[in-house]
Amino acid sequence: MTEKLLQVKNLRTSFFTDAGEVCAVNGISFDLEKGKVLGIVGESGSGKSVTAYSIMQILSFPGKITGGEVFFKGVDLLKLPAKKVREFRGEQISIIFQDPMTSLNPVYTIGNQIDEAIRLHTSRTGSAIRERSIDLIRLVGINDPERRVKQYPHELSGGMRQRVMIAMALACEPDILIADEPTTALDVTIQAQILELIAELQAQLGMAVIIITHDLGVIANMCDEIIVMYAGSICERGSTDDIFYSPKHEYTKNLLRSIPKTRKSKERLVPIAGNPIDLLNLPDGCAFAPRCRECMEICLEQHPDELPIGGTHYASCWVNVREQVTHERESFADDEILEQGGDQV
């Protein structure tokens, strides 16, 4: 049995805006095992980034966690006092952001910024701090680290800056690295470099990684497990092969049909009808129901519970419930016929 590093239970996060409460994350639960790569995929506004920010407790005003538990190695992070939270943040779980241009401070050298993380979280002092910074810069594949520590962020390219962000995040050898759209702002060839780097470091340091992205390609290339989110809820979660080759939620199925799969795809895409949902007025039922082809009456009335499909594969879709019920009914009917037949003989 592998160790459960992170357990999220029924997490809810809302933004209290002037227009009303926006339920960005709406009761989600999942686990992360040690050394695994978990992908969270969804469109903008699906709550994937807010999930990460809630785990890190770095939500900005007016966001607030309104319920649920986040266990890290058995401790509920949401119940810790602020001081303790600061200790685990960056030390046990660290995060890299989408935009490497704005997440570095332009008036400090990159050496200074990496030093800061080391000074705050480890017992190193004096020149040992700078030595560690230089080691980290070398680790993330930047050449000439002694010179680079003295440079400012504007002297580096986008890909380099993202490498610096990764170096900072790794300063304390965290157990979990959260990468929030790590390559969205980068070009394809640079994206390949950064993804390769994250995969290498993950294997080398044995940490767990959560990759948040809207790009199904990145997910397919990097992840062991996948969570598909829509309008703040988890539609479906399971292993990469489960999600790509036997999707069970209608949203996942539709999403996979709406993208070109390979460079040779010429088959007409099947778009998802309608527009993304308004988070201010979430329906009682399944959030995807208004855009779903298989929509039934119950989909509009009641939110489906998560149904186990097999292994780590779960889906929240009434269609599966219907299929399962029909299947049970059929087998039940078969049994009855058998029994009746038995009586007759």
Partner: protein, 346 residues
């Protein structure tokens, strides 16, 4: 589909570049657009008195057939957007000739030129005037080109266009902020279609949209092409989207087209080392293919376009680079079956 074979006689186009004798050169009637040796340089101030030319587009030649889609891919800063904008003369070209529908347009009146070419922009948020209603946005080009005499006719046409792009005509009096990103892009497309153009430049037209909306817009582009015999220059950085949309694909690197071929050909048989690594770097949304595929990861970053390496611009990152690559610019030549490549060693 639109696999009409069109051949630009390369000899002829080369001659036209050396001595652009516009009176004698006759572009191929099968091509709606022919571009010969197009360049666009910007002067960038690098000091108080010093300026450097930024060669955003440098000596680029291609053609687009009737009802054909040419995809243009490349990384940010490679000049793909500048190509599109220079074709519409949103930028004045520094050098080169552009023939549209048999006419040399580099000297033509801009208004009459844009009667037949339009553009759909990347960002559906900033490309629509927030103070104008949908009706005014779509109808603006109708007024500029004096297409209709009466207001009723004009309004009918606007409603027709809105229906065509899947918008409700009741929304005509609304402002653009009332719409979602996908709907705004539909407004932008309706605006481009208003005056029945023959050619549309789609500049990253779906990259700001969510995955589920992207497919709607891509399919709409394809349907509109069928219906109105449109030709597209489809500019995007998403290679899967470009190969899905295009009949032929051109790959740009630092202001130059390094490879141009039919979509299937360039997919199966990329020749230029940059195309090879660019295509292999695309994360394929299919786990089994992804595990099997071998990525060619390029070293380093794209050089600054202000200091483009001599000779072949790609040589600083190329594993096959030789001395010759630094000395001479490789010619953009046909390697058979209209597969154009600019490389000394492949």
């Amino acid at each position: 589909m639109t696999e009409q074979v069109k051949i630009v006689d390369h000899e002829v186009s080369a001659d036209a570049s050396v001595n652009p004798d516009t009176n004698t050169y006759q572009p191929d009637p099968d091509n709606i657009l022919e571009v010969h040796n197009l360049s666009k340089h910007f002067d960038i101030k690098t000091g108080l008195f010093k300026t450097l030319p930024l060669k955003a587009v440098d000596d680029v030649s291609f053609f687009i057939g009737h009802k054909e889609t040419l995809g243009l891919v490349g990384e940010s800063g490679c000049g793909k957007t500048t190509v599109g904008r220079t074709l519409l003369r949103l930028y004045e070209p520094t050098a080169g000739d552009v023939y549209f529908d048999g006419e040399l347009i580099t000297e033509k009146n801009v208004r009459s030129l844009r009667r037949n070419m339009q553009m759909v922009f990347q960002d559906p948020y900033s490309s629509l005037n927030p103070r104008m209603t949908v009706e005014d946005i779509i109808g603006e080009s109708l007024s500029i080109h004096h297409i209709f005499k009466t207001k009723e006719e004009r309004r009918e046409r606007i409603y027709e266009l809105m229906r065509l792009v899947g918008l409700n005509k009741e929304h005509a009096t609304r402002y653009s902020h009332e719409f979602s990103g996908g709907q705004r892009q539909r407004i932008g497309i309706a605006r481009a279609l208003a005056i029945n153009p023959k050619f549309i430049v789609c500049d990253e037209s779906v990259s700001a949209l969510d995955v589920s909306i992207q497919a709607q817009i891509l399919n709409m582009f394809k349907d509109l092409q069928e219906k109105f015999n449109l030709s597209y220059l489809f500019i995007a950085h998403d290679i899967l989207v470009v190969t899905y949309m295009s009949d032929r694909v051109a790959v740009m690197y630092l202001g130059k087209i390094v490879e141009l071929a039919k979509t299937n050909e360039i997919n199966d048989n990329p020749i230029h080392p940059y195309t090879q690594s660019l295509f292999s770097a695309v994360p394929i949304p299919d786990p089994i293919t992804a595990r099997k595929s071998h990525r060619i990861v390029l070293e380093g970053d794209v050089p600054s376009p202000l200091h483009v390496p001599s000779g072949c611009a790609f040589r600083t990152r190329c594993q096959y680079a030789t001395e010759q690559c630094a000395l001479e610019t490789p010619p953009f030549e046909d390697r058979g079956d209209e597969h154009y490549v600019a490389c000394w060693n492949r």
